[in-house]
């Protein structure tokens, strides 16, 4: 039996620009938006787009991610035929290796894809916050009789040189690819989402493997090779909300945008395009008498006695009475004790901010840096953590960590 299209989700990246947040977990497993992890977005998009077979390519710190994905049931991806499969690098009779690049990761799993004999393969990345209907992109791909399609976003011309750019003609046919060029000829940035005809992709993957000089990367090798051979390549325009959350500041920003769906365009309240996630199992959250909560998102298991303003609390967070939280992203089970001030920062899971500690840039301050507290860290009573701090180890009582 064959599947029309299956998805391969690149989730092996270390996410080194998220620093302390990805010390112990892969980037796609980073919590987002109160009750999600980043990977919930591409997975939910798949299932909402009618794709029921997803291979997740993992490599870096896969433990949390593997456990989170489990059998795929939260995304309705526990299927008899297909469903979600976590694909780590594995040992073969000869030539075992880690995934050398994005293309190599797919290449090492050709036999997985062949089992489903798909006509098309969509390549997704696990570090983007985006709601996208991949079936519309597939319809475009078919209508153009394309062999390769890439989703592109128009970006402001002055920022274009930060992206991989597709130069396309009036029929959206791609004529040139520029990787972070000094003089951009286009403002169509690649979103890193590709649809290939499987026979074409397979051919180019195998050829690329033979090339000892190749980095085995889609952007640097596969796409340039397709262009060299004048393949039918098209740019699919996407105009919805899309955010690469690969840095601390972009991750913080994207979380803040969740609080402002009317203006930012990321709407998690869309009944027709739900984002699924694994459930915490906590009871409903409680806002105590004397607490103040405005302009915030709060989920199951939270207990708020203090003040929460323009912030996101993940499951099981406690904000004690007299604590003050503003412009902050507070991940699961973190405790913020009385009198602590926690502002303009990301606090990862299971951290403890002891009483009267001060974390991050205060609202009246000049800096816009985002302080980051790693998971499990304790910030001692009365300690201070500066606006741009990256805290990986406990901060002792009364200490100052810039």
């Amino acid at each position: 039996m064959e599947k029309e299209m299956i998805a391969m989700l690149l989730a092996g990246g270390q996410g080194s620009r998220l620093y302390a947040l990805t010390d112990k977990l892969a980037k796609p497993a980073v919590p987002f938006g109160g009750k999600y992890r980043i990977i919930d977005f591409p997975l939910s998009n798949c299932v909402n787009s009618g794709i029921d077979t997803v291979g997740i390519l993992t490599q870096y710190q896969p433990l949390v991610l593997n456990e989170y994905i489990g059998n795929g049931q939260p995304w309705d991806l526990d299927r008899l035929y297909g469903g979600v499969h976590v694909l780590p690098p594995y040992q073969k009779a000869s030539g075992s290796d880690w995934y050398k690049g994005t293309a190599n990761a797919i290449c090492q799993n050709i036999s997985f894809i062949d089992r489903y004999n798909p006509k098309y393969v969509i390549i997704l990345s696990g570090d983007q916050i985006c709601k996208q209907d991949y079936s519309e992109m597939l319809a475009f791909h078919k209508a153009k009789h394309a062999e390769f399609s890439v989703a592109v976003m128009e970006v402001p011309w002055e920022e274009a040189s930060r992206f991989g750019l597709m130069v396309a003609d009036e029929n959206d046919k791609i004529t040139e690819f520029q990787e972070k060029p000094k003089n951009p000829k286009s403002n169509l940035a690649s979103m890193g989402i590709y649809i290939f005809n499987w026979d074409i992709l397979k051919k180019y993957l195998l050829e690329d493997e033979e090339d000892p000089n190749s980095e085995n990367d889609f952007g640097n090798n596969i796409i340039p090779n397709l262009l060299r051979d004048n393949r039918d390549m098209y740019a699919y325009h996407f105009s919805g909300y899309w955010k690469d959350v690969g840095t601390i500041s972009s991750l913080w920003e994207a979380n803040m945008e969740v609080l402002d769906p009317e203006n930012s365009g990321i709407d998690l309240f869309d009944e027709n395009w739900k984002i699924y996630s694994r459930n915490s199992g906590y009871p409903g959250h409680h806002i105590a008498a004397g607490a103040s909560v405005i302009d915030s998102m709060i989920t199951d298991g939270c207990n708020v006695y203090g003040t929460v303003n323009h912030s996101i609390l993940f499951g099981g967070v406690t904000v004690e009475s007299g604590a003050y939280v503003e412009d902050a992203v507070i991940m699961n089970n973190t405790v913020i004790k009385s009198g602590a001030k926690v502002c303009h920062c990301i606090v990862a899971e299971g951290a403890v901010i002891e009483s009267n500690a001060v974390v991050g840039a205060m609202p009246d301050g000049q800096t816009d840096g985002v302080a980051t507290i790693a998971s499990g860290v304790t910030v001692g009573a009365g300690a201070t953590v500066g606006p741009n701090a990256m805290v990986r180890e406990d901060v002792k009582e009364g200490q100052n960590h810039e």
Partner: protein, 381 residues
């Protein structure tokens, strides 16, 4: 996890005491009454059993059970999708020629005797759904086995309310209180008129499966109806019946008033912690996003589930999943069930709004603490 080898199956009666809460069971049964912002009553006994290592659970439904079937699905959320055992829903086995549906437990159990005989578990735990608790059955089961009793009746020391003193036995409205000496049940009182703290039966029993089968076989042919009144009480001298005092947190739903007061009691964090403790209560997942509080929201002493949007003023209230409260609306001392919408400027106090209720802009709806107003499912005010 359990390291004991004692095996038990669960038998749950979801319709018991339906008659006591007519307003809440118009389109459902006791077991599927929403409770504590994101649960249904049955979640508590089901999760208790599952957390105690019981994975063969049968629900003997009687009527109005569509909402319950929808809630339970395959039982996956309670980890009850199993090859062996798991969740079994037993619809009533109607007589061949009439539409007669059984009156109570004895007949219901008689209807599933062949099924009961086929099971492998040595013990059965029987329960209703209106006693809310987060119970670890393992020590209770161990005590039952150790004692050598025929039946262990669980009880909780509770105040008998004025309302409970007025039940109508002719309508099958019974509650049972125990007289216990040591752990021996000396007497079972039916609808005791003794006010104050009583040893109130939780209607949870542990019994050997084969013993249950023989009691039901014998009772059924003699026309017995009520397991407690007609069998346990009747055989008090013959059977070794022990009491087990459960001292954990309990909430007993016996009418709309107690539904309201037991719900509100959980706004007190001491009570909420005592009930939820460390063992998860599982429920059907809806995949709502987190609850959003806007710039205009003002909240105090509120428990809320996910999926709500709060733009108004909410105080001393419980909000279920997907409740929307508009700008300038004032909600005090209310229980708003799933997807209730309170439009801007509406004013509500002491109201229980059932699922999908719409309170339109500017409406004023007031009940009182002794008589909360109940708005039925899908109504517009």
């Amino acid at each position: 996890m359990s390291n004991s080898n004692i095996s038990a199956m669960g038998l749950i009666f979801p319709n018991s005491y339906d008659k006591m809460v007519p307003e809440l069971v118009l389109q459902r049964l006791m077991a599927s009454i929403p409770f504590a912002s994101r649960y249904r009553l049955i979640d508590f006994i089901l999760s208790s059993m599952v957390n105690s290592g019981i994975d063969n659970i049968t629900i003997l439904v009687k009527k109005n059970y569509h909402s319950l079937m929808d809630h339970l699905g395959s039982g996956r959320e309670w980890d009850l999708t199993r090859k062996n055992g798991g969740l079994t829903i037993m619809p009533p086995f109607a007589d061949r020629e009439s539409t007669h549906v059984y009156a109570d437990r004895v007949e219901a159990l008689a209807g599933i005797l062949p099924f009961l005989r086929e099971q492998k578990e040595e013990y059965a735990i029987i329960s209703d759904c209106n006693m809310i608790a987060n119970i670890d059955f393992k020590p209770i089961l161990a005590k039952h086995v150790e004692s050598g009793a025929d039946v262990t009746m669980m009880y909780s020391s509770k105040l008998i309310s004025d309302y409970d003193l007025q039940r109508e036995p002719e309508r099958g409205e019974f509650y049972y209180t125990l007289e216990v000496d040591g752990d021996k049940v000396e007497d079972i009182k039916v609808n005791s008129k003794a006010p104050g703290i009583n040893q109130v039966s939780m209607n949870m029993y542990i019994i050997k499966r084969t013993k249950l089968i023989s009691l039901i076989e014998e009772g059924y042919v003699r026309g017995k109806v009520y397991f407690e009144r007609d069998i346990l009480l009747d055989k008090l001298d013959e059977l070794d019946i022990r009491g087990y005092e459960y001292t954990g947190y309990t909430a007993l739903i016996s009418n709309v008033k107690t539904y309201f007061s037991e719900s509100m009691a959980l706004l007190d964090e001491k009570n909420a912690k005592a009930l939820f403790g460390d063992n998860n209560i599982y429920t059907k997942i809806r995949d709502d996003n987190p609850t959003r509080y806007t710039k205009d929201s003002k909240v105090s002493n509120v428990t809320a589930a996910d999926g709500c949007v709060i733009e108004g003023h909410v105080e001393n209230s419980i909000l279920f999943r997907g409740v929307k409260i508009g700008k300038g609306a004032v909600v005090k001392n209310c229980i708003l069930m799933q997807d209730t919408v309170v439009e801007a400027g509406a004013n509500m106090e002491y109201v229980i709004a059932d699922k999908d209720v719409l309170v339109t802009s500017g409406a004023n709806v007031h009940g009182s603490d002794i008589f909360p107003m109940l708005i039925p499912k899908r109504k517009t005010v």
